[in-house]
């Protein structure tokens, strides 16, 4: 059952990812990216990570995708689609190198799988792991401060004199 769901999701995810790169229409490409986020959330659900799936939808589909779309709206000449510039060949080389590295790593790494049945309510476990004894309280707080600084920096940059 989960196998079928996984393969359907995997195929759809890869098609959506290809569409993001290959579509000429930037707006449609952005929507394909949103769809990709949704299918990745579906993969999380098949892995019993329900909290992660919901947060994925909330953050990526609800917030980040909207920011991306607004960013596209502010781009000039978006009617022409993504034009091919002078950096075509270097971009191809860098892209191929990155792909090669990723494929190599994915193939050579030993992936450990656990036999332990998944935790049923994952939310409490995640909370304890993050904020409990010996958890990651300081890194979480530092990340929050970092993001706040970035937001403030952006506001200062665009502020009218």
């Amino acid at each position: 059952m989960f196998d079928i769901v996984f393969w359907v999701l995997a195929v759809v995810t890869v098609i959506a990812a290809l569409a993001v790169v290959l579509l000429r229409d930037v707006f449609r490409a952005a929507l394909c990216l949103v769809f990709l986020f949704l299918t990745v959330a579906g993969v999380y659900i098949t892995l019993h990570a329900d909290f992660l799936a919901v947060v994925q939808i909330l953050v990526y589909v609800g917030a980040i995708s909207v920011v991306i779309i607004v960013g596209i709206m502010l781009t000039r000449e978006m009617w022409h689609g993504s034009s091919s510039g002078k950096l075509r060949i270097p971009a191809l080389v860098v892209g191929l190198l990155l792909l090669g590295t990723l494929v190599f790593t994915a193939i050579t790494t030993q992936w450990y799988t656990s036999d332990v049945p998944p935790l049923e309510p994952t939310t409490a476990a995640i909370g304890v792991r993050l904020f409990g004894e010996g958890g990651f309280l300081l890194p979480v707080e530092v990340t929050a401060v970092l993001i706040l600084a970035a937001v403030l920096g952006a506001i200062v940059l665009i502020r009218e004199k």
Binding site: R28, V34, D50, V54, I57, L58, V61, G62, A63, V70
Partner: protein
């Protein structure tokens, strides 16, 4: 264990496994969608008659006794209209947008508890699921605005983004107050924890959530994205026929869904004396919707800058303070004396609202907050 899971176990004793797995799901979906659509038709009639009363006119009262068949006639009329697609618009997205708006709203009903065990699926991340799913329909509105190839539609879509992103923060912060008290994200546990409805324990949280929810469902006085006097009809200017009907239904479904969520989070859900639980939920939902219509009939529409400053300068700081106070009370106040909390929180909410209304009064030469 929910009723549907029991149904599934019972079926599994005589049917093959896949049939026992699929059948309860289909039954549940049909029941939930039937409930949503029937209630939406009732709501449309209810709102039109209520608005008539509020505005001292009759409202639709001709078709059938007291005009109860008017929504059906309206639906038939809308379905018979020609479906027009702008020549230079994006046809695929134009077709897809109403679905992307409507489907997530229907999916909210999956976690609304109707009574003990009568919930489609009791997710243990229930309330976060509601927030996450309802943020998806923002993308649909954006698609509609873009695919219409119409400047008013696009302006409306951009306004919607600003509005939804701003009001999501106070809504989530006020939900956190409830979650702190319950200690769980599951909707059925939230109902189970309310021996005293949370509206009494957290009046400020309720007000913030209510206003934020009204803003998120884009109803008056926050309906800037379809402000007829400024941008025609907003994102659905170029829509007609069935597709327009989807937006229209989606709007009422959203109102219904958020009425259910407000009733569940703050009014005690299906809990109540004497009457059957389902009827209690229905009474609370209709009461919430009545207040929403009342606000629509009474208050004028906000300006764009007022809308944003209301979210960022009023609701957000109040929601943060509310969360702090609730956290402190959950930590230090004894659980055996909830009525102390009720009194303290009411006094506190009153003081904060008074303070903020003093800080943000317009007039006397002041035009923006």
């Amino acid at each position: 264990m929910t009723l549907l899971e029991q149904f599934q176990l019972w079926l599994a004793t005589m049917w093959p496994e896949w049939a026992a797995y699929v059948t309860p799901a289909i039954v549940g979906v049909v029941i939930v969608i039937a409930f949503a659509l029937c209630m939406v038709i009732v709501f449309i009639y209810f709102e039109r008659r209520l608005l008539g009363r509020f505005q001292i006119r009759l409202g639709p009262n001709r078709l059938g006794p007291e005009g109860i068949f008017q929504p059906i006639a309206t639906a038939v009329k809308v379905l018979l209209k020609e479906d027009i697609v702008p020549a230079k618009g994006d046809k695929w997205l134009h077709w897809l947008a109403p679905l992307v708006v409507f489907v997530p709203v229907l999916m909210i009903f999956a976690v609304v508890p109707f009574w003990e065990g009568a919930i489609f699926i009791d997710l243990n991340v229930g309330i976060v699921y509601v927030v996450a799913i309802s943020s998806v329909s923002a993308v649909g509105i954006y698609m509609a605005g873009w695919a219409s190839n119409n400047k008013y539609a696009l302006i409306s879509a951009l306004r919607m983004v600003a509005q939804v992103v701003s009001y999501e923060l106070p809504v989530i912060l006020s939900i956190l107050g409830v979650v702190l008290m319950v200690g769980s994200l599951s909707m059925s546990q939230i109902v189970a924890a309310q021996t005293i409805p949370f509206i009494l324990l957290q009046p400020l949280g309720f007000i913030i959530f209510f206003l934020g929810a009204v803003a998120e469902m884009n109803r008056s006085p926050f309906d800037l994205l379809e402000a007829d006097s400024e941008i025609v009809a907003g994102f659905h200017t170029e829509y007609s026929g069935m597709k327009f009907a989807m937006f229209y239904l989606g709007e009422y479904c959203h109102a219904l869904a958020y009425s259910c969520i407000i009733a569940t989070l703050f009014l005690g859900g299906w809990r109540g004396p004497l009457l059957p639980p389902f009827l209690w939920l229905l009474i609370k939902v209709v009461a919430v919707f009545f207040v929403i219509v009342w606000i629509r009939a009474t208050l004028p529409r906000l300006r764009v800058d007022q809308l944003m400053s209301f979210a960022w300068k009023c609701l957000l700081p109040m929601a943060v303070i509310n969360l702090f106070v609730v956290a402190a009370e959950v930590l230090w106040l004894p659980e055996s004396l909830p009525w102390i909390m009720v009194v303290v929180n009411f006094a506190f909410a009153g003081a904060l609202i008074l303070l903020w209304s003093k800080l943000f009064t317009l007039g006397g030469g002041r035009v923006e907050v």
